[in-house]
Symmetry: C2
Subunit: 194 residues, 2 copies
DNA sequence: CTTTTTTATTGACCTGGTTCATTTTCTCCC
DNA sequence: GGGAGAAAATGAACCAGGTCAATAAAAAAG
């Protein structure tokens, strides 16, 4: 595998020495998945924090009535895992599935904990990443409360310009929290202006 | 001020030496607010990360139509700030207002950045706190998508048993993303069973 | 190219939750 | 205690978005 994308990504937040980079890479796992394969399966304990080198994945959750709700998409340079399961060693509530053939860098729980001790800068790295992720999650919550579906869709396209071309429309509807039928109507009955 | 609650809280996640604790406390600000006062005001740059020693606050956001949406409540032992504003030094999108007389421990941006350098364990502390906050935020997102209002309300009472007694009902409705009228109906038309 | 399967569109009807207006109940302060 | 303002309850009309069912279009398989 080529760890360059991961190291480039990290260097945006902290400066690792050459030795630290080497250590990190030596502890990193690498795995290829085919389209359709599950990286995390609901009910299992989620073993890895995953960095996406290439490909595209969805994190989703079947609700009590069996409807699938997509929590997030992940593409190149994103982290993806069931964080709740990963940090508490409890059964995953989400599934993570590949929507394309995908290459991941993987860090197991124990490896990552050891890396935090060996390279304290990683604490800083993940602190910063998590700050951003938390703010993004709050933003999304706010949008879901205060914007109607049509505007959430517009917002989605602004924020994830690439993804709409890569995933089917019914998954975008699920991400937005509406039905595929309603999203179809939104697209085909464009904004009647006053 | 008595920093004991803060130190107790921190000790749940990392072990600080006596010197580190002393340094932390020496850098901590302390401030009392009266019921109704604003700790963060939308449009200002949010200057502090705040730890609640006593009292109760709401973080809220007026949507384009002027409706108030409550993003979170904070009580004793919670952190509260507009994190997006705080970390990026940009105007706050949220307001944070006291619902009771409130005592806060405050860390300014520069102070906290310096503390991260002086006490690297704080990177770990906040990394762990943010992991939990992020997971909680994702959970809430999922609940908002997949549960009807009545069950979200039940869930809210399970998760925040104290708060319902401390804040007016219309604020809980706002937190749940429904109107005060509808919450009133939910409470007074109890779950018709089959 | 043709068949099969997966996605997307469209229509008719339905419902959870909103809006607005009115009334009742709670607080709390003089 | 009594009165004023805030909070909660209630009723009636309404709407954003959902459900179900039936095509149509596109993609994948052969």
């Amino acid at each position: 595998m080529d760890p360059t994308p991961l190291l480039n990504y990290i260097s945006r937040y902290v400066n690792l020495s050459a030795e630290e980079e080497a250590l990190l890479v030596s502890k990193a796992g690498y795995r290829k998945y085919l389209k359709g394969q599950f990286v995390v399966q609901q009910g299992d304990i989620c073993r890895y924090e995953n960095f996406v080198l290439s490909g595209c994945l969805k994190t989703f959750y079947p609700d009590p009535e069996g409807q699938e709700h997509i929590v997030m998409f992940a593409v190149e340079n994103w982290w993806v895992t069931d964080l709740g399961s990963f940090i508490t060693r409890t059964p995953a509530r989400f599934n993570v599935q590949c929507l394309e053939n995908t290459e991941l860098v993987q860090f197991s729980y124990d490896t990552l904990e050891q890396l935090y001790l060996d390279i304290p800068k990683l604490e800083r790295l993940f602190r910063i990443i998590l700050q951003k992720a938390y703010v993004a999650s709050q933003d999304r919550l706010v949008r879901n409360f205060s914007l109607p579906a049509r505007e959430r869709y517009t917002e989605f396209r602004r924020q994830y310009p690439g993804i709409e071309q890569r995933v089917p429309q019914y998954m975008i509807a699920s991400y937005l929290g509406i039905t595929k039928e309603f999203l179809s109507r939104i697209k085909n009955r464009p904004e009647e202006e006053s």
